[in-house]
Chain length 383, copies 2
Amino acid sequence: MLDPFPVNSVGLVAPQSLVIDTEISLESGKKLQSYEIAYETYGQLNADKSNAILVCHALSGHQHAAGYHTREDKKAGWWETCIGPDKPIDTNHFFVVCPNNIGGCHGSSGPSSINPKNNRLYGPDFPVVTVKDWVKSQAQISDALGIDQWLAVVGGSLGGMQALQWAIDYPDRLKYSVALAAAPKLSAQNIAFNEVARQAIMSDPDFFDGHYAEHDKTPRQGLMLARMLGHITYLSDDMMRDKFGRELREGKLNFGFDVDFQVESYLRYQGRSFVDKFDANTYLLMTKALDYFDPAADYNDSLISTFQQARAKFFIASFSSDWRFPPERSREIANALLYAGKEVTYAEFEVAEGHDAFLLPIEKYINTFHAYMKRIASESELI
Amino acid sequence: MLDPFPVNSVGLVAPQSLVIDTEISLESGKKLQSYEIAYETYGQLNADKSNAILVCHALSGHQHAAGYHTREDKKAGWWETCIGPDKPIDTNHFFVVCPNNIGGCHGSSGPSSINPKNNRLYGPDFPVVTVKDWVKSQAQISDALGIDQWLAVVGGSLGGMQALQWAIDYPDRLKYSVALAAAPKLSAQNIAFNEVARQAIMSDPDFFDGHYAEHDKTPRQGLMLARMLGHITYLSDDMMRDKFGRELREGKLNFGFDVDFQVESYLRYQGRSFVDKFDANTYLLMTKALDYFDPAADYNDSLISTFQQARAKFFIASFSSDWRFPPERSREIANALLYAGKEVTYAEFEVAEGHDAFLLPIEKYINTFHAYMKRIASESELI
């Protein structure tokens, strides 16, 4: 007999999908006549639909945020730490929706799905999408699901950026915005790392200008390099030191170019296993969405003006060792919200885990996040 | 008529070379029966040979540290800022020698030179060399030049590591060791970045297991990616912000994968121009030399014991925004030297320029470095 799922897991979950037949105009000027969205839900929507939480995923995320697809699954969804009964996003109270963003590669319309116009793979012809576009499509998804107002929109990293954009673009359609390990826009260094990742993918001879699928190829090496590089930026220097130090894989130097150090072996493994589950064109799109995110650009570069019209309450959190989006970047957001007269709770956690911390079971972070979410439940009379 | 060289430049310099016919045993266990060294000298060796300074180059450096090879040269040597009359390494007093390290690609024996054993290119068969190996070969070079003792061995980054290794391995053959922007060993994160760079080169289909020259190819894309990535780690986040911010190259987003931001264009340019002047196999060797540097490994991992036998005086300097080898790493060196009872001067500069700062004309740094070098000249009765 298989082990039962952990008691605080949502357990078995079923993939769902819906088709949005309303045209969407994208920031690029391009349009999608219709698109498919793969999504999952956890918990129960209450009668007055006042307990719905939208979870937005980050760069390499998808709709499978919690639970298991089969009894045999070894790994739960990517945010199992935070979604489930008695967890911060408590499915005893909340109804959680997590869609795969358009441009993704896990079932929603994207480069690896079929373009209904010509019945061929989109490939590189799938339009560049932005955080604003995602939020717009999520508003259409909300309509389709009959949810007029989200109790909260929640996300970490690129997901946090969507939570902020929601509060700016649809002020009446959410009560709380929760942005963890985010930034108000990317720095030149952030963009530079993304650009190296993109060049790695696009210069792979198996990329074929993005038409690799038609050639029965995949730019494995390029995508592997992109992921290895990304991975370095998700971990902190301290954590890498604690985890690997200068430990040698075979106890001695090899005086060659095979793996000497554990950290090399770890990175190669991370790179290789990513290639089997992610699409290169989607990776390109996601990094561009990050680079382009800059909500203040529409408001004379004033983040304060940007947030002026927001009506949500905000929870902003950052992690001391996150050098991808360091605490300063979250403080920019929190300060702008304060100056804009919004209600904002800001938490900064002293942790070693780097950018990835928002995904990890770090007690002080989980407890604080949980407390905030309880406050949301209580203010909304769900508990 | 061409403009004259700047007055504080060493002006026209001639490439020199010598052949070392003494066998050298390398840390890997391999040997070179003989090897060629390309080098340059600036200033005049005095009668008692007491004013000789060895300058060691870093990852992508070479022997051309100062001056110009022709009247038409637009660019001077890589450390023109610091070497020349009235500069920190003042050629009015000092005789400066800068060799290209073995494994290099600027005239010294390395992957792109001919293996005398079989009259074919070394290519990937050139042995892995370490900082210790370089210092050993530099000791042989000293013998060949008739220099029993260097007044100082000086370098930045990987060059600084050589300056430290000299003090450990040949305590009687130098009076001062000057290590700028260095570290006592690489962190896991440092190694991780090097590994991504190596994977970029080695996975380029034009790499041919290092035998690219025999195929009339060069792994351009891989080497370009490696350099782009390296470049990000040489600059600080702040400096990138000041230099590029989120400035758009064409004043608007393109919603495609061509260059949007200035920083992307800059990095691509840096990558492309590097490929024309550097050899991929050498890049691999240099990154391994960095990864392997760990002098304390021979002394029970105690940096204090490592420095115990040193007899030199030390100048250690670091730069606040250097996130490749941050000030903490230089402080580890300075503290270990102090505990080992050595005379050490430590300077930390508050600058925005990142790791590359040691190459740049930053007044407070140049003045302090100059003052220390004057002290060396004065203590040695050269002035």
